[in-house]
């Protein structure tokens, strides 16, 4: 556990220093833990666990857009679990249940316990349809077609800067729409 937390903290520090590969690895590493906690929360609330992926994606978006509130001198896991807990409570409340989510739900998750597959989610996909065309195309190119920022810029005859702006705005408004729903 300690080792895992230290690894996450190290990856997040590298990510903030500009290492996108470290950031990618970090997000991949935390996702099974988040998924297991989301499933447990849903089970306890008597909700079908197949909605867990919506919650996982919601948490990942919040982690991404609020990562500047993490203090790089502090361990990463408590910050991550605080964001995740907040989003999980929100999601369960929206589904009509008030439920107490224990911080230990996250902390106690053992690696390997959680299913590793990536399930499909519907909420992010549905909100994608409501984005302006340019943002949606850029997100689609990077997410679905796995194109780089450079390739995406060439494909749409945009500058790389404009692709970056569209990408970030798309993610930010996606998150805002999920919050308002």
């Amino acid at each position: 556990m300690r080792e895992r937390d230290d690894e996450w903290t190290g990856l997040m520090r590298s990510a903030i220093a500009g290492d996108s590969a470290a950031y990618h690895r970090l997000l991949k590493a935390v996702t099974p833990v988040l998924r297991a906690a989301a499933r447990r929360g849903l089970t306890r609330a008597g909700q079908p666990v197949d909605q867990s992926e919506d919650i996982v994606q919601d948490i990942l978006l919040a982690v991404h857009l609020k990562r500047h509130t993490w203090d790089a001198t502090a361990p990463f896991a408590p910050w991550l679990f605080a964001i995740a807990r907040n989003k999980l409570i929100d999601a369960l409340r929206r589904r009509g249940r008030r439920i107490f989510v224990d911080i230990d739900d996250f902390a106690e998750t053992l690696p390997g316990e959680a299913p590793a597959e990536t399930a499909s989610a519907s909420e992010v996909a549905a909100q994608l349809q409501t984005l302006p065309a340019r943002q949606r195309e850029v997100l689609q190119s990077i997410a679905v077609d796995a194109a780089s920022i450079k390739d995406t810029a060439a494909k749409f005859s945009m500058s790389e800067g404009a692709v970056r702006v569209a990408l970030h705005r798309g993610l930010a408004s996606l998150t805002a729409k999920l919050r308002e729903q």
Binding site: H24, T31, E53, H64, S120, L128, L167
Partner: protein
Amino acid sequence: MRMDTDQLIRTLAADNAHRARPVGLALMLALLAAAPVSLLMFFTELGIRPDVMVAMRNPFFDLKFAVTLALAISAIAVSLHLSRPEVSLRGFGWLLLAPVGILAAAIGGEMMMPQRLPMMTRLVGKNSAVCMVAIPVLSLPLLAGSLIGLRHGAPARPAVAGAVAGLLSAGLAATLYASHCTDDSPLFVATWYTIATALVTAIGALAGAKLLKF
């Protein structure tokens, strides 16, 4: 169009280069944008009291600013602390007691001095109605600014963070108002400033519960 979680992660990693403004900077810029509105309202409707040069020789006039600025500064520090999701008020909330302590000491000091006016007269003062309207109204632009700035944060309890934003803006607004008001007794400050601040804090909590959710 589908978006599975691996695809989402890839997209987030592609956006890694984006750097959000730190909450402290966002708060400062938003307050700087809001301040001219409050200042304009203050100078067109109220203005600094004409006898300010004489008043500055009265320690109880100066103490009003010590109280209001202590409130504003401690609330700024606490609101920045609360913008992190993993923290609570514990260990930091005591900062908000600083203005209360200064005010209590000022009341004690005034009690020990000979006074021309009876206690109730000093407490009731002449401007209580203006005070209770002016401080909340002057603080509204600042409250809006604080909330906009603090939206960059991720508070675990948005209502609490909003309440602290209310304290912050009431502290700044009261600093302006204190330079207009001719009631300098700490008893007046403890009564009417507190009521006005409580009102702004309640508005902040209600607005924060909605606006500071992330």
